[in-house]
Symmetry: C2
């Protein structure tokens, strides 16, 4: 028996042991990485030196990436340990940051290695900076590409080329990597896994928080920061320029809240679904708003020399740009989503799951590239593409591809997210030009707090006037508390760190992210119990409850306002039949003059099963059976195959339908966190439906 | 009725219509891409110009990638059409090349745009070429990074900066992208999806073809090319230097055969499994051999000035390097595979599939980076890592993760492969420095043919002396015919195109790839029927047949030589129990003195089911039951939990066991192509087993 106990203990200890091994491996790699460049300095032949240097640089890049991969591996193992022991005070992203910090400390203080003087300063009289330079070194031409502009004074450049740690220099990635490689999968996944039922139910409120709220928050923070900066200037704590537009820019970037940490805990604890939807919807959409807002602020350029004064024209231009970029990105995203839906509907690609998944992936990616190539914002386009894909294309995919695509984006999201957070940790110690200004930091924390408050409380007050199902004060406090800043804020702030103002913003933003993720993220469980928000609500149970219970139902009906109902009807009667295999046949919903077109666009499946119109569209199965039972669409088929119906489409009946559709549409939603999503189990709910 | 027909026709035509739309979209993007740079030339402010240029360059990069993504989308849709209509003359890779070619033609001849003169030539007296250059342009510092060395003479550089098409210049990727991003998933997938049963059964022959055969082929081709080059020099058709090492290098790179095209068809037609295994095993392993061989040849540098004469010492050094790099990469790959297996065995990570999949992915990727960072070959390491993962780690994963990892790498492989092939097509027209020399090309085609022949026929002759189950002459002809060149050859040849010799090689290699993929790949079906090779062999049926039939069985026993049997026993008794949850308990197989260690390493599962030792390891279930029935391991459990056994481990009985294990171990193998692999169905085969 004692043997068994020993084995158990040893087995338990082994998890921790792996972590230790990995940590030491990480450190090893760091040290090796630092040591290797000195090995190969002897060779004399110039050509070989160049070749070796290229090889060396490749090796070091590999080692850099390896550090991150080991960090991620470490994070994964620790997360597992935490999950295994149900330890909820630190989310995986917080953990990734801690590991990043540790490696950053090692790189910064553990290893010191002077730069090997490969930087050469050439003075030349070119009047513009070319994108590529050919340098003639004793007969041979070397092609150089422009990497960045160093706008600081000469001292700093000398400083950089001499005293800087080569190691630190190398571990930093091109900021654009975050924007072009790591953010898109995160944002797409957010859109693709949006809980549609609760999202649509609370759409008005979510849009208000995301659009109006973010703009309010950005301006409040901007104004407060301008006050702080003015104060700093008077006291003499400001070492560089800091304009009002910079303040507004700061407001815009720190207004983007991040859903990851809080929502993972919400999901695990099964917190009230409406609160979940409000927070998730807001944080997904406000990312998009913040991106476009910040780029519009950057584009605010008054004419003439006094480039930092206020000017009405320029403001208007900025506002126009905001609208243009946002709507452009939105429509591009929706358009590629629709194209994918049409392709997947009209080809029999579903017989070949690999092709189907590949097409889905490529089309989603192409949204990003298309938007970037057109000068719109790829990230925003990808978000709306994700939502469209989830709403239409998803229904056309084969079950295998549905799983595949969900799992693929879940994995990409997980990796990208943890990479960003561990890089954040690393960057606190390895970024060169940190400007930590205590006064600015205190001001920023205060401003962020007030900005969030000015977003949540007044808007909630206003929204509650219109909502029957009020947003209670404990929900408001929770939303206030859950305004974490994360990947998007970081990516926006690291994008440009050339000026003093931007450097100060970057350093402060880092601290804000750390604070919110660790303190607010870690305190979520406490805050939930403190605010007496019900947990352990089974989402499915909640579904059937909200349908079974009379009062709740009516409140939903109330909420889905006329605008939304019109959209819903349009979607249900025209868009879904056009883009998916489901819905009432278009021949029934379109006016008779469009007959041939309607016949062409309607999927054969829409006719085939007269008894059960939409067998292919998993999230409409239930709705539709009931639809027929209620008789608000009566399909008549005559001999020629033309379908007509006597439809009460815009009638009040529809909103029951709507409610039910939204209720059952979430089973396929990918959950954040680590649970595998099983194919929807559609055997249970109908039995609980009171109409049967 | 006529209405139905119209709809059908329209529906059929729609696939083709999508293709047209996409083609035109592709062309549109190309044109827009070319037109955009000229838009924003007016602005005067220098800073804004730089910013705009950076933005412009980003936009163009997006558009470049977009072209490829549209190309891939197009390819996917066309493949679907082909598969849908069972059209087998053109494989997807061949198709991707054709589309690439078309876009290349458009880029080359359709759009002409002079380069906008951003290249500036600086003459400076730096004695070495630095990795980064800071250029002081009127007070501001611009940081440039080294991109490439242009070793040609001054004229060419001028030529480049003036007359070159900016467009063409931009669509070319850094060759290292192929090696570091696109090849690893392809090669890993090849290793991960290796058909283990037939691979192990024919291991001796596969190793002979892959190692000996590739070296023979490389040297034969090298010698023949040296002859050609010498002839060309006499005739005066050679415009630059071409050394013997270059010839050998060419031999090495074109000796890497590519499995993709032929094997996809083999899989679809269910060709004889042994032939499949021979071809697949050979082409997977010879990629590794070719990579290491070519890098060893490049490293062949005789001392002193006469750097292109023969020298024994240098040859020996090259040979040593070959062995060192190969074994280093091999052991690194196997090592990370083992580490992953241990982690997945000793942690309960399988409860969280997302974490498990992420860990698997990261560990596999880290193999590549680790090997590159250590100066070994990442691609080779990744191959062996894939094989190890499939053999050990795969058994520890949860069923969901098994599916997820397979599907993930299948998708990555598919995308990477098609990307490479479409880039190949594109590059025929967009690469600047093509050197098409008719004599060299004819010589190369001849040499490749003879080299392949010198690999297959003599080796088959030798191997048939030892094999009972002979490699028949129609198999040999088929192997000869199926020696396509693909992604690896291309990646090796594009890696360095600096010298005249390398440029000529690159152009010739491209033609060889085109020819083999289109002609040999397209003619596979014809060749199969011409050689009367049986098709439509169900792999499972084949399994049971080869076991049920007496003579076949004995031949297999014959084949699995003593060396292999020793390895198998070692694997079965020690490695599998250590690395997976399966196998006989180590307490039974290790000597008693290792008791505590054995207890620690043995998985609880190995004890739990005494009746059925290895329930967790899907590919051993059957073997083991029979094992117990045959009694070659008798497990005795005493009260303290220590297991002992009287084992006849190295006995001849084992090879039945081995054969059976290999026979049923393939169900979980991912098939190339587009079929989804279902979890293994392990209910049928035991019934067919003659021992029951």
């Amino acid at each position: 028996m004692s043997f068994t106990v020993t084995v158990r203990c040893a087995r338990r200890a082994i998890g921790t042991r792996w972590l230790l091994v990995l940590v030491s491996l990480c450190v090893c790699v760091c040290v090796c990485r630092a040591a290797s460049p000195q090995e190969e300095e002897d060779s004399a032949m110039e050509n070989i030196v160049t070749e070796k240097r290229a090889e060396e640089s490749h090796r070091q890049d590999s080692a850099d990436l390896l550090i991150f991969i080991l960090l991620l591996t470490l994070t994964i193992l620790t997360i597992w340990l935490f999950k295994h022991r149900r330890f909820r005070f630190l989310h995986e992203t917080g953990l990734a940051m801690i590991y990043g910090l540790l490696v950053g400390v090692v790189l910064r203080y553990g290893i010191h290695m002077p730069r090997d003087g490969t930087n050469v300063i050439l003075n030349c009289n070119v009047n513009a900076s070319p994108a590529t330079v050919l340098i003639n070194v004793s007969g041979k031409f070397y092609e150089y590409t422009l990497k960045r502009v160093i706008t600081s004074n000469g001292n700093k450049v000398d400083d950089m080329s001499d005293n800087e740690n080569e190691m630190l220099h190398k571990v930093t990635f091109d900021p654009e990597v975050f924007f072009n490689i790591l953010l898109p999968p995160i944002i797409f996944h957010a859109g693709y896994s949006l809980k549609r039922r609760h999202f649509f139910r609370n759409m008005g409120s979510i849009l208000a928080y995301a659009f109006l709220g973010t703009v309010i928050s950005a301006f409040i923070i901007g104004l407060l920061m301008y006050g702080t900066v003015t104060l700093m200037k008077h006291v003499g704590h400001l070492a560089g320029e800091f304009f009002f537009t910079d303040c507004l820019f700061f407001g815009a970037i720190v207004s983007a809240t991040d859903p990851v940490t809080v929502l993972a805990i919400f999901h695990e604890l099964q917190v009230d679904a409406d609160l979940y939807a409000l927070l998730f919807g807001e944080s997904v959409l406000n990312d998009a708003v913040a991106v476009v807002l910040s780029s519009s602020i950057v584009a605010y350029q008054p004419a003439g020399d006094n480039s930092h004064t206020f000017e009405g024209m320029a403001l208007l231009k900025s506002f126009g740009m905001f609208l243009g970029v946002f709507s452009g990105s939105f429509s591009l995203g929706v358009a590629t989503g629709i194209v994918t839906a049409l392709i997947s509907k009209f080809t029999k690609l579903r017989d070949f799951q690999l092709l189907e998944t590949a097409l889905f992936f490529l089309m989603s990616w192409s949204t990003f590239l298309l938007a970037e190539a057109c000068g719109f914002t790829g990230v925003v386009a990808v978000l709306f593409c994700g939502i469209t894909q989830a709403h239409y294309t998803f229904n056309n995919l084969s079950p295998e591809s549905q799983d595949r695509t969900k799992q693929l984006f879940e994995l990409l999201n997980f990796l990208a997210e943890n990479f960003i957070f561990s890089y954040m940790g690393l960057t606190l110690f390895t970024f060169h030009n940190h400007v930590f200004n205590p006064m600015f930091i205190v001001g920023a924390f205060l401003a962020v707090f007030l900005g969030r408050a000015a977003n949540i409380y007044p808007l909630s007050l206003l929204l509650n006037l219109g909502r029957r199902h009020k947003i209670r004060s404990n929900f408001q406090h929770m939303m206030m508390f859950a305004g974490l800043r994360g990947a998007m804020t970081f990516a926006l702030s690291i994008r440009d760190t050339a000026t003093y103002a931007r450097q100060m913003m970057f350093s402060t933003t880092l601290l804000i992210v750390f604070f919110t993720v660790w303190i607010c993220g870690g305190g979520t469980t406490q805050m939930l119990s403190c605010q007496r928000i019900r947990v352990g609500v089974d989402s499915d149970q909640d579904n059937s409850m909200s349908i079974a219970e009379g009062p709740e139902r009516r409140s939903t009906k109330q909420e889905s306002a006329w605008l939304f109902r019109i959209w819903y009807n349009f979607d249900h009667n025209y868009l879904k039949p056009i883009l998916t295999h489901s819905g009432p046949p278009l021949t029934a919903t379109l006016p008779p003059c469009c007959g041939p077109l309607a016949r062409f666009l309607t999927s054969p499946q829409a006719y085939e099963n007269e008894g059960q119109l939409k067998d292919d569209d998993s999230d409409l199965i239930l709705t539709d059976d009931i639809n027929l039972a209620y008789g608000d669409i009566t399909v008549n088929t005559d001999a020629s195959g033309v379908h007509t119906s006597s439809a009460g489409f815009a009638s009040g009946m529809m909103s029951d339908d709507l409610d039910r559709e939204l209720a059952y549409g979430d089973n396929e939603v990918v959950m954040r966190g680590t649970r595998l999503v099983l194919p929807m189990d559609d055997s249970e709910p109908p039995l609980k439906d009171p109409h049967f």
